[in-house]
């Protein structure tokens, strides 16, 4: 047995080291002009390390022939990138506020940026080092979370949408209230994420998504409880892809860019922006206070807005890019997508940072909704 274990472990070792042998390969395609290459080579980042902390699956990573953005950045600058992931703003925040780590680039969402700024956890950017900021469209500048354009460079923009299967939903919905329709019992998918689900109920009630009135939240919770009773929705996150693509469910609330991904696998899907309003969100590149390589971080942020890179990312992520060069590019596959780039801006609201009391109330109400308890 000892021998067996020894063999097993040694092979595992070999296996795990063999697996990393093929990681430094450079791309066969040259994406960049000599000018760009010179610029990045002249930054003096050779030998430094940039710690990038991003959402999972939120960068073009070289799969299916796309650009490996991180590898390209390493190649052009000579810096080394430690690229790690998180799956929620809150997890990222816990890690960052805990301390003991230094990240150079993070990608929080709007309301989280607001919070990080208010807690003094972000550094002001030096836009001299981010010349590509000129590509950012005006719509994505001076927004409520960073009014004076000091801390962030917008990375992606998106909305929530109502997705439906035209084989199962006869009428063309234009309102969130179809998610309460008993005809679709057991056919509805909701967010398994209290804030996004509450926003739908709040839109129906005509409330502000960021209301500080506890009674508003309770009213919204009652509406969600009613929905649970009436249609017994399944609360999902990423399962939504499989369940909508397979045609098993008729209706879902999810993000606009992801609708485009789903419709590629199931052409029977359609979407609408419900008239009561959707949530508009921004994810932006920021530099936290704990950075140890601010120049490298700024170079990375700048690199992310190079037209070629921004295009590769936009093609990979499927959310709306704020980069004017991408939007103007005729080869961009999402050009003209009504879901991602709506020609008429839908009725929408932003998420602001909620205070602790409201957050606590919201999660307490959410527990009660799921447990099927009466909302008082």
């Amino acid at each position: 047995m000892k021998k067996a274990m020894a063999i097993l472990f040694s092979v595992l070792f070999a296996f795990s080291f063999a697996s990393c042998a093929k990681s430094d390969e450079t791309a066969d395609v040259e994406y960049f002009s000599d000018e760009q290459k010179q610029y990045y080579a002249s930054l003096g980042l050779q030998g430094t390390t940039v710690n990038v902390y991003n959402w999972g699956e939120y960068i073009s990573d070289g799969s299916e022939g796309s650009m490996d953005v991180v590898a390209e950045f390493e190649r052009l600058t000579g810096a080394r990138v430690n690229y790690t992931n998180y799956e929620s703003n809150e997890n990222m925040y816990s890690k960052l506020s805990g301390g003991g780590v230094s990240y150079d680039v993070i990608v929080p969402s709007d309301y989280m940026i607001e919070r990080l700024v208010s807690e003094g956890m972000l550094l002001e950017l030096d836009f001299e080092n981010i010349p590509n900021y000129k590509y950012i469209v005006d719509d994505a500048k001076g927004l409520y979370y960073d009014k004076d354009n000091k801390y962030s460079v917008c990375y992606n923009v998106g909305t929530t949408v109502l997705i439906y299967n035209t084989m199962l939903v006869r009428e063309e919905p234009d309102s969130w209230d179809i998610l309460w329709d008993e005809d679709y019992k057991d056919l509805v998918l909701m967010f398994n994420n209290s804030r996004d689900s509450f926003a739908i109920a709040q839109a129906l009630l005509g409330q502000d998504f960021n209301t500080t009135n506890p009674d508003d939240w309770k009213e919204a919770a009652k509406l969600l409880a009613k929905q649970k009773e009436a249609v017994s929705p399944r609360y999902v996150m990423d399962e939504v892809f499989d369940l909508m693509e397979s045609g098993e469910y008729a209706l879902a609330a999810y993000y606009a860019g992801d609708y485009e991904l789903m419709v590629e696998n199931n052409p029977n899907l359609a979407f609408c922006f419900p008239k009561e309003g959707v949530n508009y969100f921004y994810d932006a590149l920021c530099i936290p206070k704990c950075t140890q390589n601010k120049k490298g971080a700024e170079a990375f942020i700048n690199f992310m807005q190079e037209p070629e890179v921004a295009l590769a990312n936009a093609e990979y992520i499927y959310y709306a890019s704020p980069n004017s060069e991408v939007i103007a590019n005729d080869d961009y596959s999402l050009k003209g997508s009504e879901a991602v780039y709506p020609s008429v801006k839908p009725n929408s609201q932003y998420f602001r940072n909620l205070d602790e009391k409201i957050l606590g109330l919201q999660s307490e109400l959410w527990v009660n909704i799921i447990q099927g308890r009466e909302i008082k």
Binding site: Y93, N192, R195, L243, E248, E364
Partner: protein, 275 residues
């Protein structure tokens, strides 16, 4: 004296380790449970516990059911395993654990593919004219997920104890006129109790605080205490309530294990666990 020194050397590092990495974090949990956001002493979090009592009860019930099912599935398996050919035993022990080397998330996805409304099991059943059955979103699916994920942790300790059972005792019992059932009841079972207690602990304890399985296999409609604690940290940003809930959870689990041990150690050998 020399004996004493070596024993000390054996356990001292562990005691130091436990104080550093088990008790210190535990103290931190206590600190959070009894303070508020500003760090001042407060019973606010603890006072919210009563509204979650039913969830605690439900979690313990789910954990207990999963543990009992695990036990009844595992014991015969471990027994048969201990009687198998010696060389096969080693391989099979590995085979029991091997599925758990696949990523937990991906395994759970796989169960969703099997149990879904248009999933594999329903497709298979429809061949026999059975109408689509709702598996996901039921307590059964959640318990199945728990049983699946923790079954090896019940099989292995029981097997480990059974594999070295003193055969002469069984022979002796037989010689004294015990039939097979009596041999099992009077000899084999009591002797395997330490392994059972270890297995039950290793299944019950993580089951009660599990979180991901319930959300995914329960269609997001079933919420156990693990999910709620998770939510306090990840959505509500309320470390204090999260810590208070997990402190209470810990006390409840300790009580459950204590009861189990009292019950288990009525026999001579039940010394595996102490509370």
């Amino acid at each position: 004296m020399k004996q004493n020194l070596s024993t000390k050397l054996l356990r001292q590092p562990y005691i130091v380790w436990s104080v550093l990495f088990i008790l210190a974090p535990l103290a931190m949990v206590c600190y959070y449970a009894f303070t508020d956001k500003s760090g001042a002493f407060s019973l606010n979090s603890i006072s919210q516990i009563p509204s979650y009592l039913s969830v605690f009860g439900k979690s313990i019930l789910y954990g207990a059911v999963a543990t009992v099912i695990c036990f009844f599935l595992s014991y015969p398996f471990a027994y048969a395993l201990s009687k198998a050919k010696l060389s096969a035993q080693k391989t099979m022990v590995m085979l029991v654990m091997l599925p758990m080397w696949m990523n937990f998330l991906i395994r759970t996805y796989s169960w969703m593919t099997i149990l879904g409304r248009s999933g594999l099991l329903n497709k298979f059943l429809s061949l026999f004219g059975v109408e689509s059955i709702k598996f996901l979103g039921t307590p059964g699916a959640v318990i199945l997920g728990m049983v699946y994920n923790f079954l090896p942790y019940m099989i292995l300790p029981i097997y480990s104890v059974l594999s070295k059972l003193d055969n002469s005792l069984i022979e002796a019992a037989k010689d004294l006129g015990c039939n097979r059932l009596q041999v099992f009841k009077r000899v084999v079972f009591p002797l395997s109790l330490p392994g059972i207690l270890s297995g039950v602990t290793m299944v019950f304890v993580p089951c009660v605080s599990t979180f991901y399985i319930t959300q995914k296999l329960g269609n997001g409609q079933i919420m156990l205490i693990g999910d709620i604690i998770e939510m306090q940290f990840q959505q509500a940003n309320n470390y204090n309530l999260g810590a208070a809930l997990s402190l209470v959870l810990m006390v409840l689990i300790l009580i459950c294990i204590g009861v189990m041990n009292r019950f288990g150690s009525s026999e001579e050998n039940g010394g595996a666990l102490y509370i």
